[in-house]
């Protein structure tokens, strides 16, 4: 590694050395992630307010989700974070094939997550659980709970939708990173781009770590979990 210390490959002129350039990039990435924390934080805040006002309706509405699919997707996303971490590890070790393998693994797990998400959305559509004029068209909720339950599903679709959107953006970026890695762009300690993308991907994983208990597990012990027939 020591020969990298004086390498100037990838060094732009306004930095002294790669170390300083990398540190600046990491700080910039964390600054961006702070704005992301507060972006999703607004959604979590809205969720907290509505749930504090309508705890029973949120429990009944949450029981409409399939906990097993949410749990599987949690594990899938953790796996994608591990492959991402291994990709960064390969970049630190200077292994071009390791980077590509790590990114492809992350892409595959990310795609698997979105496929499961598609089937979940499709089921909600079929059961009349999309907020709007046709919400509750199958009479899933009584008149007492229908209003706040609609609010729960509005939050469910916005929060999981924005999360999935972040994953799609990440997957598009991964194609670009794989193409760069194939051209041996990440060498001689110049892998900050991979590392910062890793920070983004792990952040998206963290959002899901909080979405899973708050959206899927609220109604799990209520005994209404079997009411998926609509």
């Amino acid at each position: 590694m020591s020969d990298h210390a004086h390498s100037t490959y990838g060094l732009v002129h306004h930095f002294d050395d790669l170390e300083q350039q990398k540190e600046t990039g990491t700080l910039g990435m964390w600054s961006f992630l702070i704005t992301e924390v507060l972006f999703f934080g607004g959604l979590f805040g809205a969720y907290a307010v509505y749930r504090s006002q309508f705890p029973d309706a949120f429990q009944v509405a949450s029981a409409q989700l399939k906990v097993g699919l949410g749990a599987i997707n949690t594990i899938v996303l953790i796996c994608s974070s591990v492959t991402m971490a291994l990709g960064v590890h390969a970049a630190q070790k200077g292994s071009k094939n390791g980077i590509i393998l790590g990114l492809i693994g992350t892409l595959v797990f990310g795609a698997a997550f979105l496929v499961v998400k598609y089937f979940e959305y499709k089921e909600k559509w079929d059961h009349g659980l999309i907020p709007g004029y046709h919400f509750n068209s199958h009479g899933t909720f009584d008149s007492l709970h229908a209003g706040p339950a609609q609010m729960y599903f509005a939050l469910y679709f916005v929060m999981t939708g924005m999360h999935a959107f972040h994953m799609v953006i990440g997957m598009i970026l991964m194609f670009w990173l794989i193409a760069k890695a194939r051209k041996n762009y990440f060498r001689e300690g110049h892998y900050a781009l991979i590392e910062n993308f890793g920070l983004y991907w792990h952040f998206v994983d963290i959002v899901w770590i909080f979405l899973f208990p708050l959206l899927y597990l609220v109604g799990a012990h209520s005994g209404a979990g079997g009411a998926h027939h609509g």
């Binding site: 540190e23 964390w30 924390v37 504090s52 708050l214 012990h221």
Partner: protein
């Protein structure tokens, strides 16, 4: 110095198994009725999982002090957002206005 510490593959897999175990734990606790404690428990487990991801996957444990401060600041501001919002909504039932002393 920062950026030179390489986390071992072994540690990554240790974190992976810890995250999987905590996911199972949060699922298992959700099947039981702990009354008002279900959600705080779920959030505590999610907090531990997030901390593991931030410290090891995102290398915050090995980052410079300034980077660590930035990472902390984001979540600190999030806490301000949530605490100041909920201190209103969650205390409205504590003292209904008709108990207030009459002028």
């Amino acid at each position: 110095m920062s950026g030179h510490h390489i986390v071992s593959v072994k540690l990554y897999f240790g974190v992976f198994f810890a995250l999987c175990a905590l996911t199972f734990l949060t699922y298992w606790t959700a099947l039981h009725d702990y009354g008002a404690f279900n959600t705080p428990l779920a959030l505590a487990i999610a907090g531990v999982k997030a901390a593991l991801v931030i410290l090891f996957f995102m290398h915050a444990k090995y980052s410079s002090k300034l980077t660590q401060l930035f990472a902390f600041a984001g979540f600190f501001w999030l806490a301000i957002l949530l605490v100041f919002t909920l201190q209103d909504f969650m205390t409205r039932d504590l003292l209904p206005f008709y108990f207030w002393p009459k002028a």
